[in-house]
């Protein structure tokens, strides 16, 4: 009989009409995401990050733009961690490669934007950067103090040793004190340099690379 199939089909839908609901009210209710859900923005903690930039190197699509600074003790720290969500493949390669496991997804999947330009996210907040600055100057001060103390201790030790060795010869300590002071100064300067300058050339280099890349892809 023509139409029998149609009626059977309608039976199925009617059964479902009164059955268990398969849907839920999305913006009000949200499904929990799986533990390893890849989505949203990247988050990281600059206190843990060692600034190795492995994540940026693992990225297939150059979606990560990092600016790393070096502190007075030659340790690298993240300053800007720009995640270009528009370029991201959400492939998880960056997260997997991080040696200290500080890189994580924030799982906020509803991150669509009105503009293409807004599709960037900085994992470092301004607060983080302020903290970083304080930290950097602390390290610098510490390094300077340490260097000075070290130089002073060295000079003293040397002067003492020489004074002991050449007792009775009053001219030599004079020459020693002249030679010692330049040391801490040079060290402090060397320490200041990378902290202040390293950021600039790094960023410049990267920007240039990004430009080149863009040109190549276009």
């Amino acid at each position: 009989m023509f139409g029998k199939g149609l009626l059977t089909g309608m039976g199925v839908t009617i059964k479902h009409f009164f059955g268990k609901k398969e849907t839920f009210c999305y913006p009000e209710e949200k499904l929990p995401m799986a533990e390893g859900f890849r989505g949203g923005d990247l988050t990281m903690d600059w206190r843990v990050c060692i600034g190795c930039q492995m994540c940026a190197m693992a990225c297939p699509n150059k979606a990560l733009d990092l600016t790393v600074v070096t502190d007075a003790k030659k340790k690298r720290h993240m300053k800007y961690y720009i995640h270009k969500t528009g370029r991201c493949l959400f492939c998880n390669l960056c997260v997997e490669v991080c040696p200290v496991h500080t890189l994580q997804w924030d799982k906020n999947y509803a991150n669509s934007t009105w503009n293409k330009e807004d599709m960037v996210h900085d994992a470092m907040t301004d607060k983080d950067r302020a903290d970083l600055d304080i930290f950097l100057s602390d390290v610098e001060k510490k390094a300077k103090a340490e260097a000075e103390a070290k130089a002073k201790a060295e000079a003293e030790a040397k002067a003492k040793a020489e004074a002991e060795a050449a007792e009775g010869k009053p001219e030599t300590p004079k020459a020693e004190t002249k030679a010692a002071p330049p040391k801490p100064e040079a060290k402090a300067e060397a320490a200041k340099k990378p902290a202040a300058q390293n950021a600039a050339p790094d960023a410049e280099k990267k920007a240039a690379a990004a430009e080149k890349k863009k040109g190549g892809e276009a």
Binding site: F2, G3, K4, G5, L6, T8, G9, G11, V12, T13, E22, M33, A34, E35, G36, F37, R38, G39, A58, C59, P60, L89, F90, C91, N92, L93, E96
Partner: protein, 365 residues
């Protein structure tokens, strides 16, 4: 003086039934189609070229974007090709996980294929039912790899994460659903007179025609040729599994639909066996961080959801492939569109297109 002449109708690139961006130039004689000419390239991203400037590991996420409905199968194909090139042995547990994922993805893809066919013929209810059941598969994928699309789960040398107990639970629950929803579709669609009249005997194709056009997958099997690389090559662990290859008879839309329906049941059978046979052990082989396959080339083929998915990779001994070519089944199957549409009505071009079930991401690559 009155005269008749053929005229050209552009279908797409924004037509809703093209599931992507495809333009079909239809040459019409009244309502009858004389010629259907697909115009490709609206979704071209140059993936083959992009791969040349990326390491083998970085290439993998791009394969997700070929046929974005069946990313697992694409990952599988590419990973297998690189493993063959670099001589990497994959742990047995990983092989079983891979097969489970590939088959789940096959069901997922066929559900979409059937759902969109129903939708294009006006049975939108059918589509919603298919998408409902697909959701259960996506939950499994979400559990194992944290993504519901573009999985990037099957990696070179194994898989990214273990098949957890929760994933097994979800899979078992899904397998229980399979016969239920298949019979539901039978009630909803297979017996529906309007649906069947739109597809029985429409856009028929002989086995010779399909072979001449190099078609593979369910499209070829619908014409009666039992060619399935899973059986033929027995790659991965498919050789140890027991399953049938459903074939059609006339190669019409109805047969293509039926082959897909039956394949879903077969895939469920394969998954069941894999769950039972899966051993404990490693899920990832030892793969060097800087993978430099020796100089040479490889062509590795797998049975993707839409046919023979082949990766041809030339290595020059560096960390990046020198050249990658992808044999995309959707692209090749598209050649059949013209033949299927000839002599049919305009409305049938939609069902022909849907029953070929191409994914534009793979057609354009």
């Amino acid at each position: 003086m009155k005269r008749t002449e053929t005229y050209l109708l552009n279908m797409g690139p924004q037509h809703p039934s093209t599931h992507g961006v495809l333009q079909v130039k239809l040459t019409l004689d009244g309502e009858r189609i004389l010629k259907a000419e697909p115009v490709l390239g609206y979704l071209h991203r140059g993936i083959e070229k992009l791969m040349e400037s990326r390491t083998y590991f970085q290439c993998l996420p791009y394969t997700d974007r070929l046929d974005y409905i069946s990313s697992m199968n694409n990952n599988f194909g590419f990973a297998m090709a690189v493993e063959e090139l670099a001589g990497i042995e994959v742990p047995r547990r990983a092989e079983f996980i891979r097969v489970i994922m590939a088959e789940l993805n096959r069901i997922n893809s066929h559900l979409i294929g059937i759902g969109t066919l129903a939708n294009d013929l006006g049975a939108s209810t059918g589509m919603l039912y298919c998408f409902r059941d697909r959701e259960y598969i996506l939950d499994i994928f979400n559990e194992v790899c944290g993504a519901r699309q573009t999985f990037h789960y099957i990696r070179i040398g194994g898989v990214a994460g273990d098949f957890t107990d929760k994933a097994r639970e979800l899979t078992e629950a899904f397998l229980e659903r399979v016969p239920k929803f298949l019979s539901e579709y039978d009630q909803l669609l297979t017996g529906n007179e309007i649906f069947t009249r739109r597809i029985i005997g429409i856009s028929a194709m002989t086995a010779k025609e399909a072979l001449d056009l190099n078609m593979t997958g369910p499209n070829l099997r619908a014409t009666g040729v039992a060619r399935d690389l899973r059986k033929l090559d027995g790659y991965s662990v498919y050789g140890e599994l027991d399953f049938d290859i459903p074939v059609g008879e006339h190669g019409d839309n109805w047969d293509r639909y039926q082959v897909k329906m039956k394949e879903m049941a077969e895939s469920a059978k394969i998954i069941r066996q894999c769950l039972d046979k899966m051993p404990e052990g490693l899920i990832m082989a030892k793969v060097p961080k800087m993978l430099k396959p020796p100089k040479g080339e490889v062509y590795s083929r797998t049975e993707g959801t839409r046919g023979e998915l082949g990766f041809y990779i030339v290595s020059d001994g560096t960390t990046k492939p020198y050249r990658v070519h992808i044999r995309r089944p959707s692209f090749v199957n598209m050649q059949g569109l013209d033949l299927m549409c000839r002599g049919m009505l305009i409305g049938d071009s939609v069902s022909a297109y849907s029953s070929i079930d191409p994914i534009m991401g793979e057609v354009d690559c």
